[in-house]
Symmetry: C2
Subunit: 392 residues, 2 copies
């Protein structure tokens, strides 16, 4: 256990997730950056930060590309190398990986990585279309399939092979809404019942409205440095000890399995090996619950339970706050919201808060090792990172 | 002179630039990757390549995002971390930078970086709109300004301040078309006269049709490794000895100067210092001539001449093949073509050919040190890289 830190997080920030009417993505990112800068008074952003990677999925939302330089400028960092990373909903998971490369390269001592998306000013139809660009155009989109449909295909296969039930899938929503009710930055902060989920209208059978994550505006960021420099900026660094990113076919139709994501398995294997940890060492995790079913699949792909046993795991309550391995204490994409480009670094933000004891009502006691899991599209990208508190 | 290599290029590939009717971007990239793989028989791509960065500007062209994983899959590399970088027309210049970080980090011994764009199946109106996303939406696009207009503003300012003439600007097109006529992969392979440029219709005064780069389909890539591993793969590595990337305000209206690009000046300063070289050491350069005028501005920002003297420099013939510092021997964006995401690594491909003596009819004699200069939008991103041949 306890591999050598790759890089250290010296600060983190996140905007309120929800509707930000009348604001541009660059302005919402400012809220996240301002929090990160104010948490770390020893950092002089303009002097110290040497590179930026910004996860951003869709230029269609604001008819705006060139997001890296735009965000750098509006964050007061104009001049530094600033690049947008895009890997669909894993855009800022990929930004973390790119930021780790940059920090470890020796070319940039302090690197800011983050993500942002402004979505709520668009209609559901528009958002559905823009999100669909993360799937295969000629072989999926062209034929009318959208993301609820793709995940419904996987959920159906899992139900068929392992007997997973609609109720078990729905329990993810209940748990994550409970967690979201404890997070003042979550888009939805109210508890829901299993009955509410089960009675909501179908989007793509077996997935119902309450099985789907939210269309949300939001931004998030973390600031990285080399481990030996961390103490210069903070007394409470959080170390990234494992980093795995993997790819798979963009089309679901080409995959060997519909009941698991090979990219997640590959990324998790790399991250566990690099950090000399295993699933049994993880105190808490933020996983990619773009649909409730995706969280169940993540339990299996990350090794939190055997293949096919995720339905039982959610039923056991062990992934709820107070359980053995609380998952998505932030509320997850389901209740905290899913401003796609911002999701990967928002997961890291939650783990940062938890490992530094700043998670308030949803604090996991004695949390020392955390994991994030950020999926792009239907699984053509997966990024897994493992974090360790300084005290360890 | 002659800084320590940051990374080494062990191979490079480029598709034919031009119209690729009926092909997807991923298929065009395959042509570039196939060349790079076949040039380097000691490389086993599936075994050796550990990460990919793909510059791609617009998901609108093919209604396709998630380009990193898509390209990795269609290149036979599915499984590796694959991320799209976007920095407008400097998307693959930014990919080179990201690939340098990755290679130097120690997490990936061999990294492929490239870029691709499929544009010609769209109308000029559509392409103009998609390209405009690289400028500022609320303060530029919304008011109807497009890229020919933005560069025309800069050209006009330069003419006003320094007396640069329309003829001098047009000479860039004549030179680059001559170079393009020697490049079998260029989109346009025919010479043109100054009269043809001057008589072509205005797009945005003083820029005429022949002052504009081409709407092109194409892909390109280079393969990087750590310098100490290069000899394992090739007897003729090319070293990257300097890397600078910088950002500026996305909006032209916020800049201090309209006659130069501060991002280029910053990036060049970093790249020169890192490589312990200066403009006088550069044997040839590929610069970002998205419009003819942009090449003149680059001469000054890169230090090839004094501010305001670029008109005289093009007139002198010294930037033509056979001159002191040949610029855009490939034909540049003007004649080789400008498939935006592919341009940055296509510039590196040309320098790779030149420094390994494989540039055919357009070979620069005794070329040892080359430079690439890749600009995003109207200058909110600039990436400058300096390359050195092994013999040096």
């Amino acid at each position: 256990m306890n591999g050598k830190p790759l890089v250290s997080i010296i600060s983190a920030g996140m905007s309120k997730f929800g509707k930000h009417e009348g604001l541009l993505a660059r302005e919402i990112f400012g809220e996240a950056a301002a929090e990160a800068f104010s948490r770390c008074p020893k950092l002089d952003p303009k002097r110290d930060i040497k590179a930026m990677f910004i996860g951003h999925m869709g230029e269609a939302y604001e008819h705006q590309g060139h997001t890296g330089s735009t965000i750098a400028d509006w964050t007061g960092l104009s001049g530094i190398p600033a690049t947008r990373t895009e890997a669909a909903c894993a855009s800022s998971g990929a930004a973390i990986r790119a930021g780790i490369y940059a920090t470890m390269s020796g070319l940039a001592d302090v690197v800011i990585v983050g993500g942002v998306e402004k979505m709520t000013h668009r209609s559901t139809t528009e958002v559905t279309e823009y999100l669909a660009m993360a799937s295969d155009y000629p072989f999926e989109q062209f034929h009318g399939i959208t993301f609820p449909g793709l995940f419904a295909l996987m959920a159906t296969a899992h139900m068929h092979v392992y007997g997973t039930s609609e109720q078990q899938i729905a329990m993810v929503a209940v748990k994550n809404h409970y967690h979201g009710s404890l997070n003042p930055k979550a888009h939805m902060q109210k508890e829901i019942t299993l009955e509410t989920v089960m009675a909501s209208r179908f989007v793509a059978w077996p997935l119902k409205l309450y099985d789907c994550s939210l269309i949300t505006d939001g931004a998030s960021c973390i600031i990285l440095t080399r481990p030996e420099l961390a103490r210069k900026y903070t007394d409470q660094p959080v170390h990234i000890v494992g980093s795995g990113q993997a790819s798979d076919t963009i089309g679901l139709y080409e995959r060997k399995s519909l009941t698991s994501l090979n990219a997640t398995k590959l990324a998790a294997k790399t991250a566990y090996e690099m950090s000399n940890t295993g699933p049994q060492d993880i105190d808490l995790a933020e996983v990619h619950d773009c649909f409730t079913f995706a969280e169940l699949m993540a339990y299996e792909d990350l090794g939190f339970c055997q293949e096919g046993a995720s339905g039982s795991l959610i039923e056991s309550g062990e992934t709820r706050l107070g359980g053995k391995i609380p998952v998505n204490t932030s509320g997850g994409l389901k209740a905290k919201g899913h401003p796609v480009g911002a999701t990967g670094t928002a997961q890291a933000y939650e783990i940062y808060l938890q490992l530094t004891g700043q998670a308030g009502k949803r604090q996991v006691k004695n949390a020392k090792i955390g994991l994030t899991h950020n999926v792009g599209g239907s699984g053509a990208t997966s990024a897994v990172h493992i974090f360790r508190s300084e005290q360890q």
